[in-house]
């Protein structure tokens, strides 16, 4: 049930990607995670666990800041300026999107941003486990504040799938690297090339089919779908910098916070609200967010990479 993408061929009709694309996406994600794993050693994880500050901060930005950011965007932009009927369904979808943990996309962008991939993967696993409690809790609090009486449970199978899909390829990659640094380096290279292709691939399968959706969506919804990522990444980065985390970890936490698991949010919505009349509207923000977060993260990654190069030690030629 891990739906990776929704399509609305006609406004109001949500469908999922076809079987072939879904399989392909899954394979790509596994290859990417395999490649990321091949760049890591057990020591990398040991370090993230031994000094869990990054994890704690990441947990807080993920489950406290991100839902709050979403809520504030809802009450300041979406509700006052929207003219659409049933806007609360849209708001509910946004809240779900803001309350789910990060997914593998954040790991990939952390890799490209020269962040701390081990921390990123650890944070994803950690927050996905916590999601069992924290996602319903955040949703309960903020939906109540909106006057909605929503309670939802996140299907445990969805979370387990995320974790298994993460740990197995990463673990295998690490084992292969240990066995042969050459095999590891080649897999890492392949993973990063696939990762590079993955971004345009997502956009190509998303945009044409949801063209109508893009045309009919009103601006307050855009603001929230785009704003969640932008504000989430920015705020988390500022917090991480303020407590003087290493730039590498600050980049990691900010991406990990701002990039939430779109497919997971969609899966949760479909599982819980399948029979709800407002399903399409609930799915609206998760669907838009899933597209825009890829674009936003690409831009942020370019900025982070430049900062990384600038901060790199310039030593004289020893060559």
């Amino acid at each position: 049930m891990n739906h990776l993408m929704i399509l609305a061929e006609e406004a109001g009709a949500a469908t999922v990607v076809n079987e072939f694309e879904q399989t392909l996406l899954r394979i790509l994600v596994v290859i990417i995670m395999f490649g990321l794993g091949a760049g890591l050693t057990p020591k990398d994880f040991g370090l993230a666990l031994r000094r869990p500050w990054g994890l704690v901060i990441g947990w807080a930005t993920q489950f406290l800041i991100m839902p709050l950011v979403t809520y504030l965007l809802i009450i300041s932009v979406l509700l006052p300026f929207s003219t659409v009927e049933g806007i609360l369904f849209v708001a509910l979808g946004a809240l779900i999107m803001g309350s789910v943990p990060a997914g593998t996309t954040s790991n990939l962008f952390t890799y490209f941003s020269k962040g701390n991939v081990a921390l990123s993967v650890t944070m994803t696993v950690n927050s996905t486990l916590w999601a069992f409690i924290m996602t319903p809790a955040a949703l309960f609090i903020y939906s109540n504040l909106l006057g909605l009486d929503e309670s939802l449970s996140v299907p445990f199978s969805e979370l387990a799938l995320v974790i298994v899909g993460l740990i197995i390829p990463v673990g295998l990659g690490m084992i292969l690297r240990r066995y042969s640094a050459n095999v590891g380096a080649v897999i890492e290279l392949i993973g990063s090339i696939v990762g590079l292709l993955f971004i345009p691939f997502l956009i190509i399968i998303w945009v044409p089919r949801n063209w109508q959706l893009l045309l009919t969506t009103e601006w307050p919804t855009y603001v929230i779908a785009i704003g969640m990522g932008v504000v989430g990444i920015t705020v988390a980065y500022l917090i991480a910098k303020a407590i003087r985390l290493h730039p590498m970890n600050a980049r990691t936490i900010s991406l990990e916070t701002g990039i939430n698991n779109g497919p997971l949010a969609i899966a949760v919505v479909v599982a819980v609200y399948a029979d709800n009349a407002g399903l399409d509207q609930i799915l609206l923000v998760p669907a838009l967010y899933s597209l825009f977060i890829v674009l936003i993260s690409t831009a942020v990654t370019l900025v982070f990479r430049r900062a990384n190069v600038a901060a790199e030690q310039k030593i004289p030629s020893l060559l």
Partner: protein
């Protein structure tokens, strides 16, 4: 006090004298390692992403035989002919260098970053007949070759001897992504083809070097020396064998035969890594981890992660760079025994922090290209003194002398002069310069040093860099070290500039990334810690300092540039 107080300082397992080298030339020395360690890994080249290739001692031996045969039979080079080698650290390097020695030819190490005019000078001066060059830099050849005696060009790939799939990936990345493979327009022979030709030739390799003895020149090692014009130090087989044995002997039981894994991040074309890593650690059956380029320092991360490094040779810049890398401080190598520093003075702060982070010492040594290079080292098994270049290695005599060549008292500064089996035969085709630097068998280093009561030496400064302020000697190192200890300061270069009243005055060039401290703060700090005449009269904040290939600050270039950039300089009354 005895004339050689250091004799008392040698640890029990270090001989005071190496009476018999035990080898008649370099091929003889190399053969000994192959006999003992044939199946062990001799070299592993590690790329920044962890891709790697390896050669065993037996493979190095076989391929270098082939290359020797190629040079002698295919190229018809004659004993004593020069072969220039211009490449970064890679698996082909030892094969080429050892092949040249086995062929009875002379190795001319050349910096791959040389400009065409520097290449022309070195190739012409040495009269090299063949050139082995990394393909990445071969685009400079069209304007160079015509002005030299080079008849044959052999091109080497960075991925030579890697597993074929990995080599293919590296090649593809070089072509498509990094675009570091220029089109080579001159006639050239790929290295593998040269080896093939050599291996198919039947010839008796030992016959090439049967007449090579300890007096035979093995390498022309170019150096700016004291006059600035690059000239070739003639290092003999005897010089290099002796210095290898001296370096190994000095470290006693701390270099364990057949066990060590040494990280070679310094370039092998430089005499330090050449003797210490390539010859020394090969001799003891170590595994040499070759890093083609340690810039940026992150390039060394995978080498440290994937191999149990036990020894590291480096310069102050390299140690300092590693200590500024997060990955290095968080996960320092666990299997280190010690590190050797040379090439430039090791800052106390770096040595202390290194010990804190890795739990292992850096022993500082001293030497010059002309001395193969090691003259002195702190004995790892004995007393190691911070800020000192240690005591003379076995069979080496060092003195500090005055202008008349008379030894000065302990604690007094004088020019460091040295005698020993590692002192070069002379400068290639420059008899005047040879006569000027080697007098009565003593090689004059041009460095000002002091010896303490225990026989430990300390470099005060370069003779030519000494600044004379109103008749007082100012040693730039002292001022540099003080300013570089200020937070925010990355690097400092200090020179003298002419002044009507005092003869010379002190000018400091400071690199500080954050523009802090200010010039006033620097001057105030100097006033607090230095005698008045040593305090800089001028401070110039610069983005970077001119450096030599191994990261030494080039004060000569600062002096040349100081006049040109004078308008940018803010003058301060001292």
């Amino acid at each position: 006090m005895t004339e050689r107080p250091w004799m008392e300082q040698y640890p029990a397992d270090v001989p005071k004298e190496i009476v018999d080298l035990g080898y008649s030339n370099l091929p003889d020395l190399l053969q000994d390692s192959v006999d003992k360690y044939a199946k062990q890994t001799a070299f592993t080249q590690v790329m920044p992403n962890g891709m790697n290739g390896s050669l065993t001692y037996a493979q190095v031996d076989k391929h270098s035989d082939s290359f020797a045969k190629y040079l002698r039979e295919q190229l018809k080079l004659k004993p004593g002919d020069r072969v220039a080698v211009q490449m970064p650290n890679n698996l082909s390097y030892p094969i080429v260098a050892f092949g040249i020695f086995k062929a009875g030819l002379v190795l001319v190490n050349t910096n791959p970053l040389y400009t065409p005019s520097e290449m022309i000078h070195q190739f012409r001066d040495s009269g090299a007949r063949a050139l082995v060059i990394i393909d990445m830099f071969a685009d400079r050849l069209p304007e160079v070759l015509g002005k030299t005696n080079i008849e044959t060009v052999v091109t080497v790939k960075i991925s030579e001897f890697f597993p074929s799939v990995v080599a293919g990936v590296i090649r593809l990345v070089q072509k498509v992504w990094s675009r570091t493979l220029p089109k080579i327009t001159v006639q050239h022979t790929p290295f593998q083809q040269a080896l093939d030709m050599g291996s198919k030739t039947t010839a008796d390799v030992p016959s090439y070097y049967k007449d090579v003895n300890l007096e035979t020149t093995a390498a022309l090692q170019y150096t700016g020396g004291t006059t600035g014009v690059s000239k070739g130090a003639m290092l003999t087989h005897g010089n290099l064998v002796a210095n290898t044995m001296q370096m190994i002997a000095m470290n006693g039981k701390f270099i364990r035969p057949g066990v060590e894994v040494v990280l070679t991040a310094l370039p092998l074309y430089h005499i330090f890594a050449f003797t210490v890593n390539l010859l020394g650690f090969y001799h003891v059956g170590a595994r040499n981890i070759l890093v083609p380029s340690p810039r940026p320092p992150g390039n060394m991360k995978r080498a440290f992660e994937n191999y149990k490094i036990t020894w590291l040779s480096g310069v102050n810049t390299l140690f300092n760079a590693l200590l500024n890398e997060r990955w290095f401080i968080e996960r320092p190598p666990k299997h280190m025994v010690a590190s050797a520093a040379g090439g430039m003075s090791l800052h106390d702060s770096v040595a202390i922090k290194w010990k804190e982070v890795t739990g292992t010492p850096i022993v500082e040594g001293f030497g010059l290209t002309e001395t193969s290079p090691v003259l002195s080292f702190n004995p790892l098994g004995g007393k190691s003194k911070l800020g000192s270049i240690g005591i003379p290695v076995p069979s080496t005599d060092i003195r500090c002398v005055d202008e008349d060549g008379e030894p000065v008292a302990a604690g007094e500064p004088g020019e460091l002069v040295a005698k020993g089996p590692q002192i070069m035969k002379g400068y290639w085709q420059r008899d005047d310069e040879t006569a000027n630097s080697i007098r009565d068998g003593w090689f004059h280093t041009g460095d000002i040093a002091e010896m303490d009561e225990d026989g430990y030496f300390k470099i005060v400064d370069r003779k030519k860099d000494m600044i004379l302020v109103s008749g007082f000697n100012v040693y730039p190192n002292e001022v540099e070290e003080l300013i570089s200890s200020m937070p925010g300061v990355t690097e400092v270069g200090v020179i003298g500039f002419p002044d009507e009243k005092s003869g010379e005055k002190v000018h400091a060039f400071v690199v500080s990334s954050l523009r802090e401290p200010s010039k006033d703060e620097i001057i105030a700090y100097c006033r607090e810690h230095l005698a008045g005449y040593k305090v800089p009269s001028k401070i110039t904040i610069v983005d970077e300092l001119p450096k030599s290939p191994i990261g030494k600050i080039l004060r000569r270039e600062l002096r040349d540039g100081a006049i040109a950039s004078d308008s940018n300089t803010q003058s301060k009354g001292a």
